[in-house]
């Protein structure tokens, strides 16, 4: 009788904290908090050899950026600089004074939420050498993407009063329609042989 009354003894839970600490430290050490981030780009679809050649783009509508194997820039035929690249690209895309040597504009078209807007015909053409360093390539890409982002920010500030990144889906789509990101990467070839 006396034995039965005692029943099972309770397990000491005092060391639970230690076990939990051990596990905690394991996860603390193995965890990596880095979120994957990067420049999202889209590659052009593969060339169809039978497709008719697209009509050539007028010279004034092309913003040519060349990077050679010494990581030097040639922007529109002149030796360029990473620090001025963004400003030059913005000037080319927006062409505020309608200069004859910068991008032309399509006739004004009606874009939802924005209204009549002259979409730029400009294309940024980026060409690099096989010997260009990846670091330089990313910096140039980044500047070009930043240029378009700034142009989009400007337009969305004017029309919606807030930055492009904070617009809702319909507004963002309208801005994208008004300012399409036209960064084309030429077929690779050796620039400086």
């Amino acid at each position: 009788m006396a034995r039965k009354k005692r029943g099972l003894e309770e397990i000491n839970a005092g060391s639970m904290a230690d076990i939990a600490f051990l596990l905690l430290i394991f996860f603390l050490v193995t965890t990596t908090m880095d979120v994957d981030s990067g420049l999202l780009r889209k590659l052009p679809p593969p060339l169809d050899p039978e497709a008719p050649k697209p009509p050539p783009i007028k010279e004034r509508n092309v913003f040519a950026v060349l990077v050679n194997r010494n990581d030097q820039l040639l922007v529109e035929g002149e030796i360029g600089n990473l620090k001025t690249l963004r400003a030059k690209a913005i000037e080319f895309v927006t062409n505020p004074y309608n200069k004859a040597n910068l991008s032309a504009k399509k006739p004004a078209q009606d874009i939802e939420l924005i209204g009549m807007y002259e979409v730029s015909k400009g294309v940024v053409s980026l060409q690099n050498d096989r010997g260009t360093s990846y670091d330089m390539y990313i910096m140039v890409q980044n500047e070009l993407v930043a240029a378009y982002r700034e142009v989009r920010d400007d337009l969305s500030m004017q029309t919606f009063g807030k930055k492009y990144g904070t617009l809702n889906k319909a507004q963002a789509k309208a801005v994208r329609q008004a300012i399409p990101m036209m960064i084309s990467e030429a077929e690779p070839r050796n620039i400086s042989s």
Binding site: T32, L43, N128, Y134
Partner: protein, 159 residues
């Protein structure tokens, strides 16, 4: 005389540590949930370049990774220091990319295939030649959404 005599009478009582395990468990669960185990063991050194216009990669289940960089120090003796491509757990060449992309596609739902992204994790010292080859191959394979993996950096025009 009792053996356990109080030394200081009327001092502040000890804080109960009974809830310590609960707090620790809470932290533990947090780390267990947020932790991401490394899927592949890297055989190449990837020191990512910096950029400002970065976007977060969403839907990680739809991302396949291509690593390009010089082999890690332990493997440099066997493989040299020329940049190499790593797919999954092994070194590969550009011609292996087709198989890799098709295997990645087959592992996903058919509907999700158009949303698949290829993340290029490339060391910043790598020359563009090898990257261009990979990009051309991806174009041929119609894997057009790519992401140049970069770290968030500071604006170079603001310096």
């Amino acid at each position: 005389m009792s053996k356990f005599q109080r030394k200081s009478k009327g001092g502040t009582p000890a804080i109960s540590t009974a809830s310590l395990p609960d707090i620790v468990f809470m932290l533990l669960f947090f780390f267990m949930v947020t932790t991401v185990m490394r899927e592949v063991s890297l055989k190449v050194v990837v020191s990512q370049p910096k950029a400002t216009e970065v976007k977060k990669l969403e839907k990680k289940s739809l991302v396949s990774y291509i690593y390009i960089g010089p082999p890690i120090i332990g493997l440099a003796a066997a493989y040299g220091t020329e940049p190499r491509i790593q797919l999954n757990d092994a070194f590969a060449t550009v011609s292996d990319l087709g198989e890799f992309i098709i295997a990645e596609r087959e592992a996903r739902n058919e509907k999700e295939v158009p949303f698949m992204t290829t993340s290029l994790k490339v060391d910043k010292t790598v020359k563009m030649g090898i990257v261009t080859d990979v990009k051309q191959e991806l174009r041929e394979l119609n894997a057009l959404k790519i992401n140049y993996s970069t770290k968030k950096g500071t604006d170079i025009t603001a310096q």
